[in-house]
C-alpha cells in the first residue's frame, strides 16, 4: 500500500511540475525520447536557443497519442504533439484541437509537395521490403514480382488492423493494384509467413532468420550498416514505386504558450532538430542538415516514384480496404 501511495504521489508531483511557465510540453512516442533516440539532444539544442524548458511526455505510439488527445480534448497538457503520421492526420484534424502552424514549409526536403496548414513534417521514409542478402540471391524488383514470386521464400508482414507499417503496406498494395488488390493479396498469401501485431514482432522474426524478407523502411539497412557494421540486410527497390510515411507535428489550440510552440515548429524544420533525425530516429530528415547525410544513407534505395494517398482518402476507405484484405487473407 505504501508503494502505491509513493508511486502515485511521485506521478502527481511530476504532473505538477509540467504546469510551470515557459515550459513547452510535447507529447511524443516513447522511442523518440529514449536515450538513443533524438529526443534528449533536441531538448538540449532547443533549450539553448529559447531559454525555456522542453518537457517530453512519452506516450506509447502515434495511435495512443491521438487516442489520448481525443480523451483529454481541450484539457490536454500539451503545447505540441509530435509523432502522428499521414494516415492519422485526417482523424486528428477532425478533432478540432489543432491550430494552424504558420511555419514556412516551402524549404522542406520531402519527396512530395507539402501544403498542409496544420501539420508540419519532421521526417519521412518509404516502406520497403528488407531481405537477407545471404538467403535471397535475386530479390524481387517490383511489387508484382513479390506477389507472384517463389512461395518458399517467405515474408513477414504486419497487421493493418493493429500497426502503422501494416496499414502502410495495405495502402501500397492498393495504390498499385487498385480494384485487383484482393486478388493480389490472395496470390501473395502463400509467401506470407505470418502477420504480426506490430513492427517489433515482425522484425524480430526476420532477424532470427525465420523469414527471408520483412516489411520495414528503406532506412532500415542504414541502421545495420552504421550501428552494427553489417551488410547483411538490404532493401528491395520496386519498379512501381514505394509508399511513403511522413511523420508530423502540430500545435494545439489550447496551448498556453503559442508563441513558444510556433518557435519550436520553426526550429523543427532546421538543422538544430534535423541533425538528430537520421542516425537517432533512422528516418530521412524533412529539412536541411548542418552537414551532409551520412554516406550510408546515400546507398539506400531511392524510390523512383512515391506513392501516397491523401489522408482524407485513407480515412474514408480504411475500413473497407481492411475488410477486403481480411476477406482475401481468410478464405
Amino acid at each position: 500500500m505504501r508503494n502505491l501511495v509513493a508511486t502515485v504521489s511521485m506521478f502527481l508531483a511530476l504532473a505538477g511540475t509540467a504546469k510551470a511557465a515557459e515550459t513547452l510540453n510535447i507529447y511524443t512516442y516513447e522511442s523518440f525520447i529514449t536515450e538513443w533516440g533524438p529526443g534528449p539532444a533536441i531538448k538540449t539544442a532547443f533549450e539553448a536557443e529559447c531559454g525555456c524548458t522542453l518537457n517530453w511526455v512519452g506516450i506509447q505510439d502515434g495511435v495512443a497519442i491521438l487516442n489520448r488527445l481525443k480523451l483529454e480534448g481541450a484539457s490536454a497538457k500539451a503545447d505540441i504533439v509530435l509523432g502522428l503520421d499521414t494516415n492519422l492526420t485526417n482523424e486528428a484534424r477532425t478533432t478540432g484541437l489543432f491550430a494552424g502552424h504558420g511555419t514556412d514549409t516551402s524549404k522542406l526536403t520531402l519527396p512530395i509537395n507539402w501544403n498542409d496548414d496544420v501539420f508540419v513534417p519532421y521526417d519521412y521514409a518509404h516502406f520497403a521490403v528488407i531481405y537477407d542478402r545471404d538467403k535471397v540471391a535475386n530479390p524481387p524488383t517490383s511489387l508484382k514480382e513479390l506477389v507472384e514470386g517463389d512461395s518458399s521464400q517467405k515474408i513477414v508482414l504486419q497487421d493493418p488492423r493493429t500497426s502503422t507499417p501494416g496499414l502502410g503496406f495495405l495502402l501500397w498494395m492498393k495504390s498499385v493494384y487498385g480494384d485487383k488488390a484482393g486478388e493480389a493479396w490472395a496470390k501473395l498469401r502463400p509467401r506470407i509467413l505470418t502477420v504480426t501485431p506490430g513492427w517489433s514482432e515482425a522484425y524480430g522474426l526476420f532477424t532470427k532468420g525465420e523469414a527471408e524478407m520483412v516489411l520495414s523502411y528503406t532506412t532500415s539497412p542504414a541502421y545495420h550498416r552504421i550501428a552494427e557494421k553489417s551488410e547483411k540486410y538490404a532493401a528491395a527497390s520496386f519498379d512501381e514505386g514505394h509508399y511513403l510515411q511522413v511523420e508530423v507535428a502540430a500545435m494545439l489550440k489550447a496551448s498556453p504558450n503559442p508563441a513558444l510552440a510556433r518557435k519550436f515548429l520553426a526550429f523543427m524544420t532546421g538543422p538544430g532538430f534535423q541533425d538528430h533525425i537520421p542516425t537517432n530516429n533512422w528516418m530521412f530528415p524533412a529539412g536541411a542538415l548542418s552537414a551532409p547525410l551520412p554516406a550510408e544513407f546515400g546507398k539506400l534505395v531511392k524510390p523512383s516514384k512515391t506513392l501516397l494517398y491523401s489522408p482524407a482518402m485513407v480515412a474514408k476507405n480504411r475500413r473497407a480496404w481492411v475488410d477486403e484484405w481480411q476477406e482475401a487473407m481468410s478464405k
Binding site: M1, N3, L4, A6, T7, V8, M10, F11, L12, L14, A15, E30, S31, T34, E35, W36, G37, V57, G58, I59, Q60, V63, A64, I65, N67, R68, L71, E72, K154, D159, R161, T162, L167, R189, I192, L193, T194, V195, T196, P197, G198, W199, S200, E201, Y203, G204, L205, K208, G209, E210, A211, S220, A227, W282, R319, D323, W325, Q326, M329, S330
Partner: protein, 541 residues
C-alpha cells in the same frame, strides 16, 4: 446467533472484495458504453465478428484440452517421484512462462520450433529433403498455448495430488492397487475436484490470447475477440463495438464457467494426520522408466525455449545494460507495481475465500446465499476475460471525467494487474484454504478462535507455502504488464517488460534479449525467495 456473529466479519470482507471487483468491471463497461452512445455510428456486428468468435472458441477449446490433457501425466509423474535431481528447479521454471512477455516467449518458441529452429535443424540431420516445418497457423498457436499453460496446469494439479492424505496411500498398498487403480480411485478423484477450475483458467487465458495468436497464427484467419477489441479501441476508436465484444467474451466464459461448476464435484476433504507418504506405485521399474520419460519430455518442452532465450541473451551487452540508470528505474518500478498488485490480489483472494466459506456455514438455504457463494467463487475468475486494455480504457475515460485521469495511471495499472492475477491466486489458495478449513473449523469454533487470531494461529502456519506460491505468481504476473494503459500511454511509467518492447521496437534486439533474460532471472529469484520465506518451519518431526 453465535455462528452468525462469528461469520459476519468474513462475509463483510468478501462483500467488500466483490463490490470492488464489480465496480472495476462495471465501471469500465459503463464508461465505455456512455462514450459509445456519444460516438455516433459505432457498435456494429457483422460476419467478421462471427468468424472471430468461432475461431476464438475453437482455438481456446483445443488449447485447453491439449494443455490440460498433457498436464495430467506430467503432474502425475512429478507427484509420484518425490525425489529426483532437478525436481525443485523444474517446478520453479514451470512458473516462468506466464511471467514473461508474450513476445519474448514467442521468439523463444520460434528459436526451437520455427522454420530454422533447433527442431528443424535436428530433423534435417535425419531426413534432409529440404522441407521445413511450418508452425505458423493453428499448430503454432497451440504450441505456444501449451507452453504457457501446461506448466501452470501441471503445477496446480501437483498441488492437488500432494494434498491426497497419506492414509490413502497406506490403504492403496494394503489393497495391492496397481498404477491404473491408483489413478482411477485416488488420483483422478483428487484431480477431478480441481480440474474444472484449472481448465477454466487455461480456457480464459487462451480466449484472451493476443500476441501469440497474431504472431504465430499466420494471418487474419486467426483472429481472437481480444484482437478485435484492441482494433475497435485503438484504430477505430469505436467503444460501442468494444463493449459488445467484451460482453460477448464475458458471456461466453460465464456460460462455460457455469458448466464447469456443475461438473465440479465438491472436494471431499478429510482431516489428514500428515503421515509421511509411502506411495506403493513408485518402486516398479516400468513406472520409473515411464515417469522418467514423461518428466524428461515435459522438462525439455518447457526448458528448451527458455534456453533459447538465454542463448539470445549471450549476445547482449549485459554490463552496459546493468550500468543504465533507466534499467534500474524500470526494475524498481516493476517491483513496486508487482509487490503492490500482489498484496492487493492476495488480500482480495483471501477475503473472497473466507467469505464463501463463512456463507456456507451460515444456517439455512436461500437463493442469495447460494448466489453469494457462487459470486465469490467465480467472480474472481471472470475478470480474466475482461481485456486489460478494455478495463484501462474504461477507467481512464471515467477518471478523466472526474478530473485527474493520467496522474492515477500507476494506480490503475496496479489495480488491474492485481485483479488479473486473482484467478491464479484463487486456484492456489482455494484448495489450501478448503483443507485448512476442514482441519481447523471445529477446533477453532470450540476454542472460540476467530478472525485475525485464527489466521495468525491456525491458518497462516499451514498455509504459508500456498501464500508464498500465490504471492510469487501474482507478483511475477504483474511485474510490469502495461496492457491497462496501452491505449492512451502513460508517461514515465517505465517497467522492465516495456523496456524490452521499446528496445525491440528500435532495432536493439540484443538489448531486448538481455533484458528478457534479466526479467526471467528476476522472476525466478522472486519465486525462490517466496518459497524460502514461507517454507514450513521444521516442526520437530
Amino acid at each position: 446467533m453465535a455462528t452468525r456473529s462469528r461469520n459476519l466479519p468474513a462475509i463483510l470482507a468478501g462483500s467488500i472484495g466483490l463490490a470492488g471487483l464489480a465496480t472495476v468491471m462495471a465501471g469500465a463497461l459503463v464508461a465505455l458504453t456512455l462514450t459509445a452512445v456519444a460516438t455516433p455510428g459505432g457498435g456494429s456486428w457483422d460476419d467478421y465478428l462471427w468468424r472471430v468468435v468461432r475461431f476464438t472458441l475453437w482455438q481456446a477449446v483445443l488449447s485447453t484440452v491439449l494443455s490440460v490433457g498433457l498436464a495430467i501425466p506430467v503432474a502425475r509423474a512429478i507427484a509420484r517421484r518425490r525425489v529426483f535431481p532437478g525436481r525443485g528447479p523444474l517446478l520453479r521454471l514451470f512458473a516462468l512462462p506466464l511471467a514473461l512477455p508474450a513476445l519474448v516467449v514467442v521468439l523463444g518458441i520460434v528459436d526451437v520450433w520455427g522454420r530454422h529452429g533447433w527442431a528443424a535443424k535436428g530433423l534435417a540431420l535425419l531426413v534432409d529433403d529440404g522441407s521445413m516445418p511450418n508452425i505458423y497457423g493453428l499448430t503454432g498457436i497451440l504450441l505456444a498455448h501449451v507452453f504457457f499453460n501446461l506448466p501452470l496446469a501441471a503445477r496446480l494439479m501437483i498441488m492437488h495430488l500432494e494434498r491426497i492424505p497419506g492414509e490413502n496411500w497406506r490403504l492403496a498398498s494394503q489393497l495391492g492397487m496397481g498404477a491404473g487403480a491408483i489413478f482411477r480411485f485416488i488420483e483422478w478423484p483428487a484431480l477431478r475436484a480441481g480440474l474444472p477450475g484449472i481448465a477454466g483458467l487455461v480456457f480464459m487465458l487462451c480466449i484472451a490470447s493476443f500476441t501469440v495468436v497474431l504472431t504465430l497464427g499466420g494471418g487474419p484467419a486467426a483472429t481472437t475477440i481480444e484482437v478485435a477489441i484492441y482494433q475497435a479501441l485503438r484504430f477505430d476508436f469505436d467503444p460501442g463495438r468494444a463493449v459488445i465484444l467484451a460482453l460477448v467474451q464475458l458471456g461466453m466464459t460465464a456460460v462455460l464457467i457455469a458448466l464447469g461448476m456443475r461438473l465440479t464435484m465438491p472436494a471431499v476433504t478429510t482431516p489428514s494426520l500428515n503421515r509421511p507418504i509411502l506411495r506403493p506405485d513408485c518402486a516398479k521399474l516400468a513406472g520409473r522408466v515411464g515417469d522418467g520419460m514423461v518428466i524428461a519430455l515435459a522438462a525439455l518442452f518447457i526448458v528448451l525455449p527458455l534456453i533459447a532465450l538465454t542463448v539470445s541473451a549471450t549476445a547482449a551487452p549485459m554490463g552496459k545494460l546493468l550500468g543504465e540508470a533507466i534499467v534500474w528505474q524500470a526494475i524498481l518500478t516493476s517491483l513496486a507495481i508487482g509487490a503492490t498488485a500482489a498484496v492487493l490480489c492476495i488480500t482480495l483472494a483471501w477475503s473472497l475465500l473466507i467469505a464463501a466459506h463463512a456463507a456456507k456455514r451460515m444456517p439455512g438455504t436461500s437463493w442469495w446465499k447460494a448466489g453469494f457463494i457462487m459470486a465469490c467463487g467465480s467472480g474472481g475468475s471472470l475478470i480474466l476475460v475482461m481485456p486489460p486494455i478494455f478495463l484501462g480504457a474504461g477507467w481512464f475515460v471515467l477518471l478523466h471525467g472526474l478530473g485527474e485521469g493520467f496522474a492515477l495511471a500507476p494506480a490503475v495499472v496496479v489495480t488491474i494487474n492485481g485483479l488479473m492475477a486473482l484467478p491464479y491466486t484463487l486456484r492456489i489458495l482455494g484448495p489450501a484454504h478448503a483443507s485448512a478449513a476442514a482441519d481447523h473449523d471445529r477446533l477453532c469454533d470450540s476454542l472460540g478462535i476467530s478472525g485475525w487470531n485464527r489466521w495468525r494461529l491456525a491458518d497462516w502456519p499451514v498455509l504459508r507455502p500456498a501464500f508464498g506460491l500465490a504471492f510469487a505468481f501474482a507478483m511475477a504476473l504483474s511485474l510490469g504488464d502495461l496492457g491497462a494503459v496501452a491505449l492512451f500511454g502513460s508517461e514515465d511509467l517505465t517497467t522492465l517488460p516495456l523496456l524490452i518492447l521499446q528496445r525491440m521496437g528500435s532495432y536493439r534486439t540484443a538489448d531486448a534479449a538481455g533484458l528478457a533474460f534479466m526479467l526471467a532471472i528476476f522472476c525466478l529469484i522472486l519465486i525462490i525467495g517466496a518459497e524460502r520465506a514461507t517454507a514450513k518451519t521444521d516442526n520437530g518431526r
